[in-house]
Amino acid sequence: MSLGTLLRRGVIAAGALLLATPVMAQRAPEPIRIGAVLSVTGPASFLGDPEDKTLRLYVNRINQAGGVNGRPLQLIVYDDAGDANRARTFATRLVEDDRVVAMVGGTTTGTTLAMRPVFEDARIPFISLAGGIEIIDPVQPFTFKTPHTDRMACEKIFADIRARGLTRVGMISGTDGFGQSMRGQCVRVAGAAGITIVAEESYGPRDSDMTPQLTRLRNATGIEAVVNPGFGQGPAIVTRGYHQLGIRLPLYQSHGVASREFINLATPAAAEGVRLPAAALLIAEQLPANDPQRQVVLDYKAAFEREFNQPVSTFGGHAYDGLMILVEAMRRANSTDGTRLRDAIRATRGFVGTGGIVNMSATDHMGLDLSAFRMVEIRNGDWVLLGN
């Protein structure tokens, strides 16, 4: 044995002794460690902050109710500030140093993709909270995700357009990451959905006037509906311009604008009649009494708003779904072994979350279908759930 190994073993043995002493004295059940790397600060903080709050809130609640399999949960949260390199370091820390049994986190597609190999190599389940479809397509053995994908939003919108007996669509998309990703997915699924995209326009994320693009769309022949994949203020400006130009074709926005600020920014008059796919959380109170998601979203909304005194967001809901899927899987597997836990998560059937009803399988690590999105229409400055 070299001097190096001797030294190293000595240090490890001393450390193990130190660690072991208090545990033996207390005889308390050892906590189950769950990791979360989230973008709590930085440009994606509007996603990461509600995720962080939701995880803390519900881990506390679960522990007050006796924990999981007789053991309390211990949540370890690191803030990557939206930086992929930092996320990767924290992921390594969770795996190597904190020895977590699973991870619920990864706020953006970029940080998730940077962290994915760490968890795949360590064979530890990783439930991501980011939207990009490339996270689970192709399926990776240990990686899951809870939010809907852009592709589903496109399919939902196209299905609604077809239900109105229309097929020819004009598209105006933002050039930001969200807009471009969703635009690509819409183009990909249009054919299968029986939709023809006859004209396309785009705008920059900071443009303050889209009248020229909208005028071109208005003058293009044969357009029957307009779809606007976009995020932030762009869609609100599109909606306002659309109204001012007096375009009477149906206008579809994406799930990215499903917030109160969108209606305020676009003005209720201009937003009248605009349709978009949204998660059940947005219209919790309007869900019919027999809707399986009703109780779940109302409970989550009430708990979050009571605790933090701020409106609930779908992003926090994704974290709720991820944590609950993991906790249920731990109960079913009665184990914290990575592969067994993965098998149990994969066996999730009929889980009712805020994002929809989740049915995972070996080929589907998200488990949502189009029923997870509700088509809503804006009427009199408020969301109205359309009969699905």
Binding site: A84, N85, T108
Partner: protein, 310 residues
Amino acid sequence: MNARWATLLILAAVIAVIPWFFPSGYYFRVAALVWVTALGAVGLQVLMGQAGQVSLGHAGFVGIGAYAMALGPKYLGLPVLACLPLGAALAGLIAFLVGRPILRLKGHYLAVATLGFGILVAMVLVSEIAVTGGPDGIRIPRPEIFGWRPRGGEAWYWINGAALLIGVWLALNLQHSPSGRALAALHDSEVAARTIGIDVARHKLRAFVIAAVYGAVAGGLMAMMNGFVTPDAAGFLQSVEYVTMVVIGGLASVPGAVVGAALLVLLPQALTVFHDYEHAVLGLLIMLFMIFLRVGIVPGLASLLRRRSA
């Protein structure tokens, strides 16, 4: 034995010895990150500390090096390792072309011009989605070195450590070469340097190109280690972090850049215990360092020791 060799020897000893005390693979990852970040910072030290030219766009070159590792294999079918020198050459060429006009500027004007360059690189990486993958980033194939595939923190610890040693050795040699003394002269006074026959423009440009190459190599190594890169690597905040590393470690000192990089990589990891306040504590610590060790950590401590022993 002179100070140059002592510095190298200490650094080599540190790299060789500290893994004995690592309890888990995570420490290898963090230390590997320290070495590769330090390599980028040493490059900036050549430009800022030795030539006295400020750059707020250093991360732009880091980003060029990092993205070369992703785009070379994808579009040119090159093995990923071959892209490391390619990325460095590309960054050097861009620095050569960009440096000519902007190094005519001085002080704040130069700062703003380099800032613009860095932001430009980040913008291209974000918005050319079809080529770069946009804000969601792009994957980098795992490299193969004569049939060996470095995987995990430990392999990259040694690769990055070796790269840093070479980088520090070259930077120290430069500092003590005629070129380095010319840089020091123009750092002190451009007019004086010109009057004693130093080609100021050429030396500034050379320092700029050297910094870019260091940055690109660091970016390329970091990208290979992560297997993934996003445009954040070239972001403005990264550039500011590099400047902070060089300043806090000691502008005039090559090992100072290493210490500064170590501090800025390790502190956020150590400060996670403060959770909500970690950024505030980090800022406070940096301020304290600047107040009490005004010339930077390494020169500051060195002069303190000298005074103590005198």
